[in-house]
Amino acid sequence: MTLKINGLVGGYSQVPVLKNISFEVRAGQVVGLIGLNGAGKSTTINHVIGLLTPQKGSITIDGVTLLASPEKYKSKMAYIPEIPVLYQELTLKEHIELTIMAYGMNKEKAWARARKLLKTFRLSNKLEWFPANFSKGMKQKVMIVCAFLTEADFYVIDEPFLGLDPLATRDLLNLIEKERKRGAAILMSTHVLSTAQEYCNYFVLLHQGKIRTQGTFEELRNSYQDQQASLTDIYLGLTQEVTDDE
């Protein structure tokens, strides 16, 4: 599974937010999409999941664009949004049923996975509730359960740690690691740089709609010319430079 973004120009209106973005996410890789508020992380993600259409450039999953085959493109992908999005009129159980059906999964196997995930995130006894009335953290857990239930080849995760309790954060990170080892590709945007440094094996640093730099942690350190620098140091340093230039 490979996601390829090539020369992407795009945004919400005619004025492009993203300017010539190119990077790849390969199987067994967790790519961290790092950037300040408004750097273009969510816009990039919206393009990847197909909510926005590129103005220039292309996005392909295994060589398939969204336009060429929407079903094929989408069937490989699971998404966890930054702000939990839920159907008001569906119970937790029905959300899971819907996900199983939408991805055409085997019912028994999927439910077995779902039960395990529900137990991990302590939602087992809430199956008959409307998650739309849950707290932010619990809603986020529902999003996580529904996404990881699919065993997708490609996960798009937007700022997943906000509102999660420490236990759930740990469990989520374990899940991400497990899926990566299984061979899934993961694109994750986050502000929590210390976590990103530990769990991502490739980084794309966005600044004002452009890629400031990209590479593995080693490569970033090399280009920053400081072998002791943390991701936070590198990121702050690089954005500082650019901001000072203006």
Binding site: K74, Y79, Y87, Q88, T91, E94, G104
Partner: protein
């Protein structure tokens, strides 16, 4: 500063009311209202003419009931807003100024409404109860003061938790007024007036004390104001769409067994649409109302052809009103993320029609 804030809010609120009043007081409604008021006026004048020269036993109780019902109109308009809990928090100690302005405004509106209603009752007070002019004037004052008691309670509960009890509410809004009006009509209006003055004075002192000793109960006052606004919005929503009125979701477990189960990925939209239709208040209540109205109309229309035409009209109306359901899930990202082809909604609409027959 707080006075300025209040004026600004009041202007915004009045603008909102003006905006919606255009929809509420549309031509059809005004016409219907004119007929309704005309009919009511005619009925009232006939009723007055039919009254005997001596007082009937029921005229006093009727007057008490009417006055107490009228008293319920006009609530405390605080115009508090959700973000106030954050942005106005530093002005905590000055909030009483805002609330006093709110009280003044609410009272002015309420007193106006009470006076108009009282004026309408004057002919009956004269012919049915045989009150003298001075008695009527005093009764009017009693009614106005009772409204002040009614609103003063809100001012106290915005600070005092222990005053916020159901029995105090009943006492101030229903039981107390009934008692005082009984005194007014069976004893003497002047006694009732003194009693009300005493009650108001007591509440006034309590309010003074409550504001000094306690801090503002933000959440409770917001809850009261939100409830009031929702009542208003729900009324306006009968005439036009109000974004603030979001239908409530009810489970209706009873129907769970009949809702479509998922068997193939093709069922996804059937699954979603049926659940939205049954559980989302805005659709289920609309469907139910129109169906019931249709049934009632059909029962009372004997002509077969007319029945067919009406049936067609109701089917059309139900279908037309349910059109928003088609886009109901559009703002949920997963509807776009799921690897599905978007299916046509028509089989579902077909489903409604089958159900309807």
């Amino acid at each position: 500063m707080m006075n300025k804030l209040w004026t600004k809010r009041l202007k915004k609120y009045q603008k909102l009311l003006l905006h919606y009043s255009r929809f509420v007081l549309n031509d059809h409604f005004v016409l219907a209202l004119l007929f309704f008021v005309g009919g009511l006026g005619l009925g009232y004048s006939n009723f007055l003419r039919s009254l005997p020269s001596t007082s009937e036993w029921w005229s006093k109780p009727l007057m008490i009931v009417v006055l107490v019902i009228v008293l319920q109109f006009g609530s405390f308009i605080s115009l508090l807003d959700e973000p106030d809990t954050i942005f106005l928090l530093p002005l905590e100690s000055k909030m009483i100024i805002l609330l006093k302005q709110a009280f003044k405004h609410s009272y002015l509106i309420a007193a106006l409404f009470q006076s108009v209603c009282f004026l309408l009752a004057v002919p009956f007070l004269q012919k049915g109860l045989h009150l003298t002019g001075i008695e009527m004037l005093l009764l009017w004052l009693v009614q106005l003061l009772l409204k002040a008691v009614y609103l003063e309670r809100f001012l106290i509960i915005s600070y005092a938790v222990n005053f916020d009890k159901w029995w105090i509410k009943v006492l101030c809004e229903i039981a107390g007024p009934i008692l005082i009006l009984i005194v007014a009509l069976y004893g003497g209006v002047i006694w009732a007036l003194l009693l009300t003055l005493f009650a108001l004075f007591t509440l006034f002192t309590l309010a003074q004390r409550a504001t000094v000793k306690n801090v503002l109960r933000w959440k409770r006052m917001l809850q009261i104001e939100n409830q009031r606004m929702m009542t208003l919005y729900r009324f306006i929503n009968l005439f036009t769409d109000v974004p603030q009125v979001k239908g409530k979701v009810h489970r209706f477990r009873l129907f769970d067994a009949y809702l479509p189960k998922m068997k193939t990925p093709k069922d996804v939209f059937k699954f979603l649409y049926w659940r939205a239709l049954v559980r989302k208040g805005e659709y289920s209540s609309l469907y139910l109302r129109l169906t019931l109205l249709g049934v009632v109309v059909l029962i009372f229309v004997p002509n077969l052809i007319l029945t067919m035409v009406l049936l067609a009209l109701f089917l059309y109306l139900i279908g037309f009103q349910l059109l928003p359901l088609y886009n109901d899930h559009d703002d949920i990202v997963f509807t776009h993320i799921y690897p599905l082809k978007r299916l046509n909604v028509s089989p579902i609409l077909g489903g409604y029609c089958e159900f309807y027959y």
